[in-house]
């Protein structure tokens, strides 16, 4: 006999299925988030982005010492102020920066950082700590959507833990055709009515299948419109293009989630890292240009994070290893631009790495309460929102 308790014990994450079919929940909440509701686009930079070469403390003599081969000189950075500059490949973000629509938050992390990709990402996804808690917890976005209504849309084959909630639904896709059914009649008949109560795996698949059919119908109606805006051909460029298309088509999702991989630069970093941040900057710049032209940008904020920064000291393979605090970008017309918080000291170190200066949960608190208008109480303890949005 499969009890809820045994399920939670044996497969905790897997038990995080919505208990109400998401399309029904959406109907019930139709009066809630409308097509004009604000949305958050979360961009996960996978693998641990080298924060120090992303937001460069070019004026700090310690930086040059730590990075004899990897350092980026003052002449090359995109200057933010007298102390900090962006990696030169982030130049396409200059327009957002000068327009006051880009917030750069250095030194974002959490206490006692883990340098495991998976543990650290699980902590960022859940805003919970400890192996057991991160394994079993709903995601920070999933929890917030549970209490405030609305769904998330994941531009990736798998829904990340961050968007998992008890009820919150995550629609996932990588191309529009992926959400259209070839034979809707046969599939609709096959799916039948979803089981409301049971927790077993068949009931779970049934609920998800009902949701898939509903999603397919919705997307079909939603994506007929063509987009003429130019996007880079990169993977991330195409993902953000799809997000923009859904936004312009009036999708009701409150949260969009996309991932850019490859930041695990242990060796021969300079060329690889320049390509990564270049792909990032080009895609984000094109995204906001498209949304601005379509007059939907005001609804949209983008938050980019990585699970950790890299070691401040370069290694001997012209790379960097798993470090601690990283940098976060928040962009959009609702953002109050600037460098927010303090860049970490490169001399006051713990275990060889800088101390974080901003708890990541303060960024989440701002995104939830000050942007999405959702409760931020699921962050474990009260977190004063970091001031990245215009009042």
């Amino acid at each position: 006999m499969l009890t809820r308790r045994s399920l939670l014990k044996s497969a905790p994450l897997l038990a995080l299925a919505p208990t109400v079919p998401a399309f029904l929940a959406r109907t019930a909440r139709a009066a809630g988030p409308g097509p004009d509701a604000r949305v958050l686009v979360v961009l996960q930079l996978d693998g641990g982005n080298d924060a120090l070469n992303t937001v460069v403390p070019f004026a700090d003599p310690e930086y040059a010492k730590l990075r004899p081969r990897l350092r980026i000189g003052a002449a090359r950075v995109v200057k933010l102020n007298d102390a900090l500059g962006l990696h030169p490949a982030l130049k396409p973000l200059d327009e957002l920066w000068t327009g006051g629509r880009l917030a750069v938050v250095p030194g974002v992390g959490y206490p006692n950082p883990s340098r495991s990709h998976f543990e650290s990402m699980a902590i960022w996804h859940t805003a919970r700590f400890g192996a057991e808690e991160t394994r079993t917890s709903y995601g920070w976005l999933g929890r917030a959507l549970d209490s405030g209504g609305g769904e998330s849309c994941v531009v990736s084959p798998e829904a990340p833990q961050a968007v998992r909630g008890r009820r919150a639904a995550a629609v996932s896709l990588t191309r529009t055709a992926d959400l259209l059914l070839a034979d809707p009649d046969a599939v609709k008949a096959a799916v039948g009515a979803p089981a409301q109560q049971a927790d077993d795996v068949l009931a779970f698949v049934r609920r998800q299948a009902s949701d898939a059919v509903a999603s397919a119908e919705k997307v079909e109606a939603m994506t007929r419109e063509k987009s003429g805006a130019p996007y880079p051909a990169s993977g991330l460029g195409q993902k953000l293009k799809l997000v923009a298309r859904l936004l312009k088509a009036g999708s009701g999702s409150r949260v969009y989630y996309a991932t850019q991989g490859g930041y695990d630069t242990h060796a021969q970093q300079p060329f690889a890292h320049a390509n990564l941040v270049s792909e990032f900057a080009d895609a984000v710049a094109a995204f906001f240009a498209d949304l601005t032209a379509a007059q939907v940008a005001d609804r949209v904020a983008l938050l980019a994070f990585s699970e950790f920064g890299r070691t401040i000291r370069e290694n001997d393979s012209a790379g960097t290893d798993h470090g601690t605090a990283g940098c976060v970008f928040v962009a959009g017309p609702g953002v109050g631009g600037g460098v927010i918080g303090t860049a970490p000291s490169l001399t006051d170190l713990t275990a060889g790495e800088p101390k974080m200066t901003t708890d990541f949960r303060r960024v989440y608190a701002a995104a939830l309460s000050e942007w999405l208008g959702l409760p931020a109480k699921g962050l474990g303890e009260p977190m004063p929102p970091v001031g990245v949005f215009r009042k």
Binding site: L2, S6, L7, S10, A11, L14, A17, D46, G47, R115, S116, H117, F118, E119, A131, V154, P157, E158, A159, A170, V171, S172, L173, T174, D178, L179, L180, L181, A182, D183, D185, A186, V187, A189, A190, V191, G192, D200, V201, L202, F204, V205, R206, Q208, A209, D211, A212, S215, A216, G261, G262, D264, H266, A267, N315, D316, S317, G319, D321, H322
Partner: protein, 445 residues
């Protein structure tokens, strides 16, 4: 491993040997089987059916030139550096191969030692790695692990060549302990640092493993409480002896062969104990699992989400689509659209598996694959599937009810119940089979 949990299965009134259990065996241990194989195994009984699978004996639909063709396809993919053709060659082996359990385990090892060509960028190296998973699929874990940690693709993926004396690169050491053997919680950060020193000097030269003494840190290291001038080989041997490795291995096998909550934690521990007593003999453990009462228990039937590659291959095999077969290039692409892109796992942790396979996009991809397979062209088949002809050649009639009964028995091992009968009441012919393959029940195995 004679223990209380892993007693051999003997059919009785509660768990009779019937079509349901034959379908279960083939879907779970292999990639499903066509009607004739199922009938043969119903008659043969559980002993013979399981032993045939464990031995990897040739089946009627394996082409006579299978080994030659599989080799040519793989060689050709590697020589032109075409990753899609390499994926297709793997699907060819899964679809036609005489030893589906071996292919099932090769996939498991690809997931366990996840390596992505996006970083390795060497189709030849990825090919050699997948051959290695196949060659050592049911070896002792020591043989497999020792081969994989010296595999050029994995070494490149985890930056081993950058790891040298005085400048340790921790990537391989960390994932070796966290993912390949012990699991989180069984080692410290210091263990990772020292393990990285043990592995210094391991790298790749001319596409082959190379151990360079001048790059090796031959000083004393302390790993998991033991101090010595350990080498990489010493480290691997120590990790193999650690009890947590047997437990992790047992969990992997249970995840592959059991559905949710169908295998109690005590049984996992017992399997791990058996693995330790038998030198981490994977073949022995797989035999124990597939012969067990626990494996054939009611709770284990249709309680596990089939992975995309299993669903893609299993649907084609069950329907007997061997001649003409679907395009294996198309099969690889469909699997990717369902979330499992071979040679490109999401990260070194592999695929999440289980319920994480199921979301809107994946379910739509599964339903669309079902439609493609039955209609033909989008799965690379010229002709559409003929449900009535298939039912007839299995000895059923061609009326709608017969076609439904045949396909329901074929896919699920049971007669259609009233509920599914009502759901599918308005469908006939190809649409009926598309619906059966798209049904929530068909996503489980």
């Amino acid at each position: 491993m004679t223990t209380k949990y892993w007693d051999a299965y003997e059919p009785d009134a509660k768990a009779p040997w019937n079509l349901l259990r034959v379908v279960h065996l083939h879907r779970r241990a292999a990639f499903a089987a066509p009607w004739d194989d199922l009938q043969r195994d119903v008659k043969a009984g559980p002993g013979a059916a399981v032993e045939r699978l464990l031995k990897g004996e040739s089946t009627a639909h394996t082409p006579a030139d299978f080994a030659l063709t599989a080799g040519v396809l793989t060689d050709a993919a590697a020589s032109v550096g075409d990753l899609n053709r390499l994926k297709a060659a793997w699907f060819y082996r899964m679809l036609f191969g005489p030893d589906p359990v071996r292919e099932r385990l090769a996939l498991l090892w690809h997931d366990h030692f996840a390596t992505g060509n996006a970083k390795v960028n060497n189709v030849g190296a990825m090919r050699r790695q997948s051959d290695l998973f196949r060659t050592h699929a049911r070896d002792r874990f020591a043989v497999l692990l020792n081969a994989v940690v010296r595999d050029p693709a994995l070494l490149e993926y985890l930056d081993a060549p950058a790891n040298r004396r005085g400048h340790p690169n921790e990537n391989l050491a960390r994932e070796l302990m966290e993912l390949f053997t012990l699991g989180v919680g069984n080692y410290t950060e210091d263990d990772v640092k020292n393990a990285a020193r043990c592995l210094t000097g391991w790298g790749v030269e001319e596409n082959a493993f190379a151990e360079r003494p001048e790059r090796h840190d031959d000083g004393e290291k302390t790993v998991l409480g033991r101090t010595g001038k350990w080498t990489g080989t010493d480290l691997v041997n120590q990790l193999l002896r650690h009890p947590a490795t047997a437990t992790r291995l047992a969990r992997k096998l249970v995840a592959a062969f059991f559905g949710e909550s169908a295998c109690p934690d005590d049984a996992v521990q017992e399997l791990a104990t058996g693995l330790r007593a038998r030198d981490l003999d994977v073949s022995g453990a797989v035999g124990t699992v597939l012969r067990s009462r626990l494996f054939f228990a009611e709770a284990n039937v249709r309680s596990r989400v089939a992975a995309p590659a299993e669903f893609v291959v299993g649907s084609a095999r069950a329907l007997g689509l061997f001649d003409p077969a679907p395009s294996t290039l198309a099969m690889a692409d469909w699997s990717a659209r369902m979330g499992q892109d071979l040679f490109d796992p999401p990260n070194v942790g592999g695929w999440l598996g289980g319920r994480a396979w199921i979301n809107s996009r994946a379910l739509i991809a599964r339903a669309n694959y079902a439609a493609a397979l039955i209609e033909g062209p989008n799965a690379g088949r010229r002709d559409a599937y003929d449900p009535a002809a298939a039912a007839q050649s299995a000895g059923f009639g061609t009326a709608r009810a017969d076609v439904l009964t045949y396909h329901h028995r074929l896919l699920f091992g049971t007669d259609p119940g009233a509920e599914i009968g009502t759901r599918l009441a308005r469908l006939d012919g190809r649409k009926l089979v598309i619906a059966l393959l798209s049904a929530p029940e068909a996503q489980l195995g």
